[in-house]
């Protein structure tokens, strides 16, 4: 009796591990294929497209890639400017707005908060046509600003920051700063922002990744090659000029994944904790 329970336990434990290992491999397999094939020649890939080990054609693949329109450095720089700018803007001004909602008593405070809750889920793609026409009229297409400035109004982040402030900011501190003669804006920058650091870090990671991966708006706004972001650069690999250059397509894809991999595996613990935290705010 005891034995049979133990065997059935062992079996179910084995199933758990087998499934978990299978799912982990399922996450890794496409990227492993990608990295390995990036080092293999088109001929090798056509002979056998599953290469589990690296080959020695990385340089020749790079030469083919570089000789065409794909330019990872330009994409990297533009994506960096947009993601960094948008992240700083979103984190700073969301904190400021959240502070306005928590630290001060004003007449429109509750209506304003209700409004933020109402637009929390408003998807930007719904008004993309009007946005594009507006930018077209003020000659802001092929400009990085329309991809950065809108991040200043990030309702979901304001909501998150407000919850954080309500839980962590002792209003006494603000009062004593006032008694010491600190101006309101100075108090926010010097006393409140440092308290918000953990929340800001979590939100910054996600905003950065989301902006880095953004595709729709850059695709409609940026038509000049020197303004392309990383995802737009990637979409060039889909074109006919790379039709038979499998090795370089894999290499181009690898170059866009590599920075994300580095960031992810360095910060994985914080990122996963951030996803969990985001769920609990509900």
């Amino acid at each position: 009796m005891n034995n049979s329970i133990r065997t059935s336990r062992t079996i179910s434990k084995t199933i758990v591990y087998v499934v978990c290992i299978f799912l982990s491999l399922l996450s890794l397999f496409p990227f492993w294929m990608m990295f390995m094939n990036a080092t293999r020649s088109t001929f090798e890939i056509q002979q056998n497209s599953i290469g589990l080990l690296p080959s020695k054609f990385l340089l020749s693949n790079w030469k083919v890639l570089e000789g065409k329109s794909f330019n990872p450095m330009i994409g990297f720089m533009n994506s960096m400017i947009i993601s960094a700018g948008a992240t700083i803007g979103a984190v700073y001004f969301s904190s400021l707005t959240a502070y306005a909602l928590v630290a001060y008593t004003w007449k429109l405070r509750q209506p304003f908060f209700t409004f933020i809750m109402a637009v929390l889920m408003l998807p930007a793609q719904v008004y993309s046509i009007g946005f594009y026409q507006f930018m077209y009229q003020i000659h802001w297409t092929n400009n990085l600003l329309p991809l950065i400035l809108p991040s200043i109004a990030a309702p979901a982040m304001v909501f998150f920051m407000r919850q954080y402030l309500l839980a962590t900011l002792p209003l006494d501190i603000v009062d004593s700063a006032r008694i010491d003669g600190s101006k309101e804006f100075y108090t926010f920058n010097r006393i409140v922002l440092p308290i918000m650091k953990p929340a800001m870090a979590t939100q910054a990671i996600f905003t950065f990744v989301i902006k880095w991966n953004e595709f729709f708006l850059p695709l409609i706004l940026l038509t000049k090659k020197e303004r392309y972001t990383m995802p737009i650069m990637v979409s060039l690999l889909r074109g006919d000029i790379y039709k038979t250059e499998y090795g370089s397509v894999y290499l181009g894809l690898s170059l866009t994944v590599l920075p994300l991999f580095v960031v992810y595996f360095l910060l994985a613990k914080h990122i996963i904790a951030g996803v969990a935290l985001g769920a609990l705010k509900e």
Binding site: R9, C20, L23, S24, L26, S27, P30, F31, M33, I45, N48, S49, I50, F93, T97, A100, L101, A103, Y104, T105, R109, V119, M121, P123, A124, Q125, V126, Y127, S128, I129, G130, F131, Y132, Q133, F134, P150, I152, A153, V209, N213, L219, I220, P231, V234, S235, R238, V249, Y250, L253, V257, L260, Y264, A268, K269, I272, V275, A276, A279, L280, E282
Partner: protein, 325 residues
């Protein structure tokens, strides 16, 4: 009295500190939204078009869009791709949640599994779409080679020209990039449940299966419905994957709402007015579906609360009777 004057004098900073948010929202969200609504009623089409007029029949664009077979198909595709991706997504996430939160058996290496399972979620969707396009290549491609080696198929499959395989791969990518996220959210939900509930159930001799279905699952209802709503809102807007995987093809099988809107406005036809009308219809659908789901969510909660209150009253009555006796 002094306190009151103090709060009044600082109130203006509430307004001042909200100005950047409000201005940005007005300029970059509200104005474009109203402008999109307006364009939907006009004849705005083509590049550099300046003579914009509201149509004599303002709803003409809406009529044309609603009767457009491609639009109808894109609506169907969007829902289809979302449902086929979401069902395995939530099921697998629940299963993994049950395993990773099992109190009798701690899965070793859990942290590493979570890191790997969540990983696809942060990789650029554009990259993933093109990577899968290449992996599912025909007649030679890693997936075809793998399936042939395993003996699952006799000859290479052309995933890119069959409706069901093309849509299936898009759904699979959606599932594969999101089930890890759902799992993390659900695990956080389980960890938020009061542990004494589980302890009490264990003392009463409940099996892990009973605990999961009778305690964990009912307590997760709010989070599951929240996942459902956010996934649906995201699913209605899916663009990067279908756009880059097969450009909406084959035969419009992966044409989603947003790919349709993009094609109307930006791929040579410049029908901004019809694209706007289509956006507004999509928006309306999102609002209605979310409202329906929130209604269900709230009603379920209200039903539970009423039930609890009823039981509470009954308990009090019983207690009162016992006291009297």
């Amino acid at each position: 009295m002094i306190m009151r004057r103090k709060t009044i004098s600082y109130a203006k900073y509430g307004y001042i500190f909200s100005i950047p948010f409000v201005l940005t929202f007005l300029i970059f969200s509200l104005y474009p939204l109203l402008y999109t609504v307006l364009i939907g009623f006009t004849n705005l089409r083509g590049l550099g078009f300046t003579d914009i007029k509201v149509l004599e029949q303002p709803f003409e664009n809406y009529k044309l869009i609603l009767n457009n077979p491609s639009f109808q198909k894109s609506l169907f595709n969007t829902l289809y791709i979302w449902v086929v991706g979401f069902i395995p997504q939530i099921s697998l996430a629940l299963l993994l949640t049950a395993w990773f939160t099992n109190r009798n058996f701690k899965v070793k290496g859990q942290g590493a599994f979570k890191v790997l399972i969540y990983m696809p979620n942060i990789i650029t969707a554009a990259t993933i779409a093109i990577l899968f396009h290449t992996l599912f290549g025909y007649p030679k491609g890693p997936i075809n080679d793998l399936f042939l080696k395993m003996g699952w198929i006799d000859s290479p499959l052309n995933f890119h020209i069959q409706t069901w395989t093309a849509r299936g791969v898009v759904s699979f990518i959606q599932f594969w990039t999101w089930y890890g996220n759902t799992m993390i959210v659900l695990i956080a939900g389980v960890l938020g449940i009061n542990p004494t509930l589980f302890e009490a159930a264990e003392i009463d001799g409940a099996s892990p299966r009973q605990i999961f279905f009778k305690i964990t699952l009912p307590r997760l209802k709010t989070i599951i419905l929240y996942t459902l709503v956010t996934s649906m809102v995201g699913g209605m807007q899916v663009f990067d994957i279908p756009k880059l995987f097969l450009l909406g093809g084959p035969d419009n099988a992966t044409l989603t709402l947003n790919v349709f809107i993009y094609n109307q406005a930006f791929s040579g036809t410049y029908l901004y007015n019809r694209a706007s009308a289509a956006s507004m219809i999509a928006f309306l659908i999102i609002v209605i579906l979310s409202a329906v789901m929130f209604r269900i969510l709230r009603d379920k909660d209200a039903v539970l609360r009423r039930k609890w209150e009823r039981e509470e009253r009954r308990r009090q009555r019983v207690e009162a009777r016992e006291v009297n006796a």
